[in-house]
Symmetry: C2
Subunit: 660 residues, 2 copies
């Protein structure tokens, strides 16, 4: 054990295990999580060479192997609770993804929820036994977030009772679905349904793409891997071009809409049926933001405790880089953010389950708010975590660039969350739509409930005015007062966006033009709203915490999160009159004070996330702090070191030397 | 040619070629640059498979091949002007780096400038004929920016007239030098010199590491590749552990300091001798920031002109995504930044040459300012470009994640500039040291000249005060007025940091503690200073431009750059009283207006950077806009598509299906 990091651990002011239990949601959950992690970590079948040393094809190969083993082992161990499956999988996957991801995350759930009883009986056993390996093919080369624009066609032929699937243009080629390139033998294809000469919009079709015996692509199916990406080397994101591919009528998912044998189209009873899954995945992504950021903070903070550099005081040894104020200023606000997002993730998961319960009881009233919240928070947290990972990486100096730090892997694995499951700017605008609608309801005399209820309050309709003419409202040492300031900022920005939209409507050709011409303001309003929600949820989490020492350190983190946000957005708070100019200097001083207060607890606060070395897979973030020894051992295994003299020497260097 | 992008080009309000000439620094420079580019692009010896499809070892192999060919061809063509060599090399390298980089950038220049005449006669021909392939080994596993902390030792043994080199600890292993792992047979090793029982600090030693005949590592030399990184796959960044490696006394670079045969140490006449190279490289990096960002903008803006998505107006076709206000708000300020940095890069290069001239005449007076400027601007521009590349990538939706977009490559190749040649935060603090010193000189009654002369002005010593009590000074439509606002902000922040430092000195144990406790403020001051310099240089570039149409469009870009910066840092400008709260709304409106004004010129403004398709290597950024066709062709060549059925099917999937 590195002595610096041991000493850090001696400085903690709180009981680590209690904090870990809070993060897990209870001591029993911590115990079971660790048990599951050990199952994987001890399992020799999951040991393999560092993926960074392999070619893309080898990485894919290793991932397929792991996925296949995982399925067998989950059955063997009888792990069936969805949360436990999730835990087990995330340990197996480590920092990477798996080619079977969509088989379990999209193919099976869609079959489950959108098939008739008969279809269910046919497909579920095939999918569970992996005879059918499926993916979900929605996105096309030319069409992403706006799914109504998809071009793939499924034309019903009553003479054979088949659908004929086609990719009529190059932009209609299915593009991106995970597991589509090489792994899957079936895909649920989203296509425009044509029958009796009319288009009935998007529907889903189970489409065989590879022979179930030989795995060779079927006639008319042009399928393959879309090529290397920024990360996701293990996943065969694929393309699929359909050329008059015929599938039986029964392969259309017909729980709701139907096509009868003669080609008659039967409408679905409602069109809000897949709303829930989307909301669920976005809610989960909030938790992913917390995890990606807490892993990055663990690596950067542990490394900063071990790394020494420069002279702080002449003649004294080089200090730990964690003692530099600029380093603390980079890392501690991110640590606070990781905790904030963790608690927001817990809230989202709880809220999702509560509202799902209501929906099962027939009460859909909570869905619009959850939809708006999950869209905005997905964008807000992924953007913040995405930038934060890179700050952590660069805070590790040169070594942060090495793959042995794992920080590059964390980044490339995480960054797609900003785009998939709804592009972030589009998500922010969806939330804005809800906020503007709520604002209008208040103006029309309605009383709002739930998270937007702050729009009811009259102080939200103040005019922008100069700072000094208003009394200072915020107490910079009081979290409750800061929550209030964030609330007023959000209220103000929602109002400003709504008014700006109204003004645009007077000049614009259409509602859509007015919306577009206000969209910068609308995104700002959503951002301010989400920021308020995060600060508020962090503050209310504190009230649940009984342990004094932990309450104290989490309060410091929450205050840091809130005050740092005020400083970073000081123009907003000055503009809306929540803070005064002299307070800015006080905030700067207070922030420096908070950094110093957190310094002794920094390593323990990342230890509390409880990531085992096998899960971080980072030389810099090792629990024992033996960074350099481990880096050297790792480097020796680099593929370029397999030979003492690389073949390129004989091929190019030797001839060059004789040529010149 | 894609019709959308053709139409865009028809909308330009200015003559493209004239703007390209301005960017190149004259029509003749444009002509010669294109000539050199064609030499490479037409050369069949430089054609190769997309590096993204190769393994790391194959990528290294391809890069060595290219580097070797490049050396031969440069001689063949007789290209010897350093700027032309730079042009030629950058086309050959494309978006990547080369294993020989340090041989030319560090090894040869160091030999040139730090050897005695006799050493020069021996080593230069060997290096020029590539018999000696060298690198520059400074950074160690445990020591980066703070080079005095390096631990490698060179102990003089008068009995054999040799130095004995050692890596006494694990943290002293040389780590990171490019070309060290596999390519080089010599390294200039920076080591602590010991002779006659005393340490005389860091000196440089030419150290043979591999046999010049067989390329096998020499006895006592443990050398290899440090393993995969975030990018730089083509470069064998290496490690070097020295175990009693003996080199002749003559291998110490002895132009300045010397060790006599009996071991007597002779001091160098001055210790500022390598100052210049560092300043030069940092100045060059400012230009790299401009290039990386302008390439990214070219890709994202062309793609946004071709990509259609969603409905703006019901019933109408999906609009180009460049018509979305949020998309313009992401990309156009970055486009303006790319132009700003380009002109700053030109200024830095000119200033460097001017001051180098002075130094050659014995006048060192300009060096401190250039040093401070190059350090701060290196940090300011690389941070901005680094974040900007990622904004461009994410503005391309999912396809930005594909390696065929080139955006991931641009990012991973560029991001190390934030860390190498001086870690950015350390750079900002170096600039701050100069600013604080200048501030103190003014307070002591001195009159400053040069770029910090604004610190002379009395208005820079106003107190922070409330916004409304001061008259509004800025005219948001006037660039000159905005330059003034940036200047006052910088002056204010320098003063605040200096005062904060003074206050800390009263409480702190030492100057170093006080400095550390003020470092957040100091970095802010540097940042404000650099931002001012960039706005100012952009504004003064405009005065050189005679063509009315180009003057007009560049003025719009400059105003966008300046106003966007005010908006992003509105708290600063409110705090220092440069803008009022009501002006914030006006700025928002004006920014929207500027986005609309730039919209018709956007594609032409990126065309003017004049990157040929072969240099961008991006399916999304193609000149002809035929994005999807090209992506499909590229994907088909993906390594995973070499077989129809991947071997993992037979190894894992088939067995899994029979097992369940």
């Amino acid at each position: 054990m590195n002595p610096d990091i041991s000493r850090e651990r001696g400085n903690a002011s709180f009981d680590l295990e209690i904090l870990t239990n809070i993060l897990d949601g209870g001591a029993e959950k911590t115990r079971r999580r660790r048990e599951i992690e050990s199952l994987v970590i001890r399992d020799p079948d999951f040991q393999h060479e560092d993926l960074n040393f392999l070619s893309r094809s080898e990485r894919y190969d290793a991932a397929v192997k792991k996925s296949a083993q995982m399925i067998v082992k989950l059955r063997e161990y009888g792990i069936s609770d969805p949360e436990e499956i999730y835990s087990y999988k995330s340990v197996v996957k480590g920092l990477h993804h798996e080619p079977f991801g969509l088989h379990y995350a999209m193919f099976l759930p869609t079959i489950n929820s959108q098939t008739t009883a008969e279809q269910h009986r046919k497909w579920i056993p095939l999918a569970e036994l992996c005879q059918v390996l499926g993916t979900y093919a929605q996105t096309e080369l030319g069409h992403g977030t706006h799914i109504r624009g998809l071009e793939t066609t499924a034309t019903y032929d009553p003479s054979t009772q088949e659908f004929v699937l086609n990719s009529p243009t190059i932009s209609s080629i299915k593009w991106w679905p995970g597991g589509l390139g090489k792994t899957s033998n079936h895909a649920i294809v989203l296509a425009q349904l044509y029958t009796q000469g009319k288009c009935f919009g998007l529907h889903a079709f189970i489409t065989p793409i590879r022979c179930m015996k030989t795995h060779v692509p079927l006639p008319g199916v042009v399928v393959g891997d879309i090529g290397p990406k920024f990360g996701f080397d293990e996943v065969d994101n694929g393309y699929l071009k359909l050329e008059n591919v015929r599938i039986p009528r029964d392969n259309m998912l017909m729980k709701y809409a139907k096509v009868e044998p003669d080609g008659t189209y039967v409408k679905p009873p409602s069109d809000k049926l897949t709303y829930g899954t989307m909301v669920f995945i976005r809610s989960m992504i909030v938790g992913e933001s917390a995890r990606a950021l807490s892993k990055s903070c663990t690596i950067a903070i542990r490394y900063s405790a071990v790394r020494h550099q420069s002279e702080l005081r002449p003649g004294e040894p080089e200090p730990q880089i964690l003692d530099y104020q600029t380093q603390q200023y980079k890392l501690f606000p991110l640590l606070a953010t990781a905790y904030a997002f963790h608690f927001v993730g817990q809230y989202m998961s709880k809220t999702y389950h509560r509202i799902s319960g209501d929906i099962n009881q027939g009460d859909f009233s909570g869905l619009p708010e959850l939809h708006a919240l999950s869209a905005g928070l997905k964008a807000f947290t992924t953007w913040a975590a995405n930038a934060g990972i890179e700050v952590c990486r660069m805070a590790c100096g040169g070594h942060g660039y090495s793959r042995c730090s794992s920080l590059p892997d964390i980044y490339v694995t995480f960054t797609p969350t900003c785009t998939y499951e709804g592009e972030n700017t589009v998500m922010m605008l969806q939330t804005a739509r809800y906020l503007v609608k709520s604002y209008k309801q208040v103006r029309a005399g309605q009383h709002l409930t739930g998270i937007v209820s702050y729009l009811n309050e009259p102080q939200s309709r103040i005019q922008p005015q100069s700072v000094s003419s208003r009394p200072t409202v915020v107490n910079i040492n009081d979290l409750v007062s800061l929550v209030e300031a964030y609330k007023l900022r959000a209220a103000k920005f929602v109002e400003m966006a709504a008014k700006s939209l109204q003004m645009e409507l007077q000049h614009s050709k259409s509602n859509e033009d007015a919306w577009n011409n206000t969209s910068i303001d609308l995104v700002r309003a959503s951002d301010a709203h989400c920021h308020y929600v995060v600060v508020k949820l962090f503050a209310s989490k504190l009230s649940e915490i009984g342990d004094t020492a932990i309450h104290s350190v989490l309060s410091t983190l929450a205050l840091l999160y809130a005050l740092h946000g005020v400083q970073q957005n000081s123009g907003d708070f000055l503009q809306t009159g929540q803070i005064s100019v002299p307070q800015l200097a006080q905030i700067s001083q207070r922030l420096k004070g908070l950094l110093s207060e957190l310094r002794p607890n920094a390593v323990s606060l990342v230890d509390a996330f409880d990531y085992r070395d096998e899960m971080l897979n980072s030389s810099l973030g090792r629990y024992d702090g033996n960074v350099y020894e481990h880096m050297f051992e790792w480097a020796k295994r680099s593929p370029l070191n397999r030979t003492e003299v690389h073949e390129s020497y004989h091929k190019y260097l030797k001839p060059l030397q004789s040529k010149l």
